[in-house]
Amino acid sequence: MKVSNKSNRWLTAALLAPTSVWFVLMLILPLIVILVFSFGERAAVGGYAGGFTLEQYANLPSRLKAFQNTMTIAPAGTLLSLLVAYPLAYYLALRVDRKYKLILLVLVIVPFWTSLLVRTYAWIFILGGRGIPSLLELIGIEGVRLINTPGAVLVGIVYGYLPLMVFPIFVSLEKLDKSLLEASSDLGGSPLKTFMQITIPLSMPGVATGCMLVFILLMGEFLIPAFLGGGKVFFIGNALVDLFLQSRNWPFGAAVSVTLVVIMLITVSLYMRMTLRSNTGRDESLM
């Protein structure tokens, strides 16, 4: 059977069309709109009025706090998720009896069956006055405040994003050739050295993917800081909700968005370059 070059090309185009249309309508176009808005002015009743001004960008420092919070808590949250997720993924991939592996994996996903909103709401009670602090009072530790602190937000982040970090790492550890670990041991490598020299480097693609996923999503997070930060620890996401929905200052909101996208592009590409260079294995890696 021979498919001519021409009809082949048509087929390719036809297959790509839906994705392309979706991509343009849902991503490129909105980005252009946002970019245009960011150079406009706020209409008297809110929303967007045309024009060309850099005023909105000049006004960015007024939201400095949101940027600072995001730029510190997002990386910290990513790192913390990694520290919690790695041992879990390691255990699931290399230690658990095959029989229980599937069940345990499902347990990692189960929380996803309930909305993050509801689950984060639960943390308000756990960390709030009648939760852990009241238990601590029982044993004589008074005046502990957990809710509405950066710590509370970090706890919420680790809880909410854990599966996203666990899975890529699990996959890279799972496909790690076990005879490499035996080879290392055979050549005199203690368990710790084997872990440091073989396991960790060969699971880097999973670590990089997990960190990237969590970090990118965290940069746009607003639910967790809104619930557990109580207006004290707010992210850029919260600022955007406020600007677009409450004060209806669309052009300024657009300028903040554009800045966020730019920051994200820069960090992510720096990060990619770093991990690609250090990852010298045969694995094509990353995303």
Partner: protein
Amino acid sequence: MGLVSQSSTTECEFDIEFRGVTKRFDDIVAVDDISLGVERGAFFSFLGPSGCGKTTSLRLIAGFDQPTEGKVFIGGESVVGVPSHKRPVNMVFQQYALFPHMNVNENIGYGLRQRRPKPAKQEVLKRVDETLEMVRLSGYGKRRVWELSGGQQQRIALARALINRPTCLLLDEPLAALDRKLRREMQIELQTLQRDVGITFILVTHDQEEALSMSDNICIMREGKIIQSGSPRKLYDEPVNKYVADFVGKTNFFNGEVVESTDVTVSVKSDSGQVLTGMLIKGATAPANKSKASVAVRPEMISISAADATNNSANIAIQGRVLNRIFLGEHSEYLITTEGFGDVLVLSPKSIESNNQGFAPGDNVSISWKPDAALVLGDT
């Protein structure tokens, strides 16, 4: 020689020794009460079909698995409970298990870098270069391991193990992934290498030709048990049963029932009523009357002559017809169909072929062998 009994306890005579070793995985018995000894500096092979417990035996020596029962000794000392990174043996893995994130130098130097105190970088590099030279891959140090061909990866794996100067090198089907020609080359290379470095090699293989051509001693396994061990020559000439004879080299079997036996010979009657007599192997006890047994004759022990030619009456002779002839250079291989004895394989050397001009398919021939060329073997 390399085989052994539980009682042999002379110090350090064996480099590697198993005493009553059993390894179970849940309800599977992978290794079943094995005792054996491997002499220092010997080239020893585990030979047997897939799943008979060869790899498991090797892993027990390397320390990746611990025996369920019994003890493994290395250099005369029990290594029960000693983890693999503290054992003075090194393994060449079946799929090589080279570290993909390290280049050739780093792979080979890995073992040295694990030592305490850590040797100097220069020292490691020097040893790596020497070892690369030994496996004839000088100049490949900076290459990525996955850029290399199968044969080259194989040599890197060898170098990575040998650089540690282990007391014993373990090789798990090291040549299985190579093509035929390369395999032959590597067999010779391995033998030379073993002679040069003078350490014990333990090879696992399911390829009888490989085991026969390389080893000083072979241990033939089946379902976790040792069936026979000994030198290749001994296994070939004096197999203890049909399984071994079948596994080591080609053999013609004439199956039947024992009808008569003396101290040295046993007569077996085939289903078609023909009776053949074979020698008992030294030290073996004759199978009971009426039990199943086979008379085995190696193809090269059988000679062919024209059907009408007069025969030396001392020899056993059978009439047959040539079915097929394959010319193999040094030999011709005939397949001859006989009445009552089935098809018989005969290997006829060139010197004899040139005398009788050989035979063609369809020719009526007479095949014969000396009485002591036939062995009687029990089925198990």
